[in-house]
């Protein structure tokens, strides 16, 4: 592997590495939460609130969604780059996705903190 390719801050190789590491964290989070939910025979509203009262769960959920948005952003960039040839349309679509991600980050912060 040519590590010089990682020197470019948002180059192809750097994006590839980001995509893998975010995926790894998200897999661990998903499995942990999934096992926690499945292992309780009755998982109702009070169990949800009890689980998400924990600071550790809150902060890891926040990190999970931030990484998910980053992962999705890189994915969207790649898909639009592959399929939309006109650069002005591509940039407008990318911008729409960017706005959607920022909006969802605000909603996420509202639910986790507020």
């Amino acid at each position: 592997m040519n590590f010089n390719l990682l020197k470019e801050p948002f180059g192809g190789m750097t994006q590839w590495i980001y995509q893998r590491f975010t995926a790894l964290f998200m897999t661990i989070y998903f499995l942990a939460i999934g096992i926690l939910i499945i292992s309780h025979s009755t998982f109702d509203y009070s169990s949800w609130t009890y689980l998400f009262d924990s600071f550790f769960v809150k902060i890891s959920t926040f990190i999970f969604f931030c990484l998910m948005f980053f992962h999705a952003w890189i994915g969207i960039l790649h898909v639009t780059e592959d399929y939309i040839k006109c650069s002005s349309i591509r940039r407008s679509i990318n911008f729409c996705f960017f706005l959607a991600i920022v909006f969802q980050l605000f909603i996420l912060s509202y639910y986790l903190i507020g």
Partner: protein, 63 residues
């Protein structure tokens, strides 16, 4: 959440998530040069499809 419409939308999203997760794990293995032979890669891609459907079917029971 008893409406069949809501439930089917939930099932579609759960399938998308599980399929993306399992296919992503396959891609991670491929990145480590595991299962890059043509026969193995084709078999694993079919396995991903089947396993994601099976896990989705299990989750339907849970919803």
């Amino acid at each position: 959440m008893d409406s069949w419409l809501i439930k089917s939308i939930e099932v579609i999203f759960i399938w998308a998530l599980l399929h993306h997760l399992i296919a992503g794990l396959r891609h991670l293995l491929l990145d480590f040069q595991i299962g890059t032979d043509l026969i193995v890669a084709r078999l694993s891609s079919k396995t991903v499809l089947i396993v994601s459907f099976m896990l989705t079917a299990l989750s339907v029971n849970w919803i």
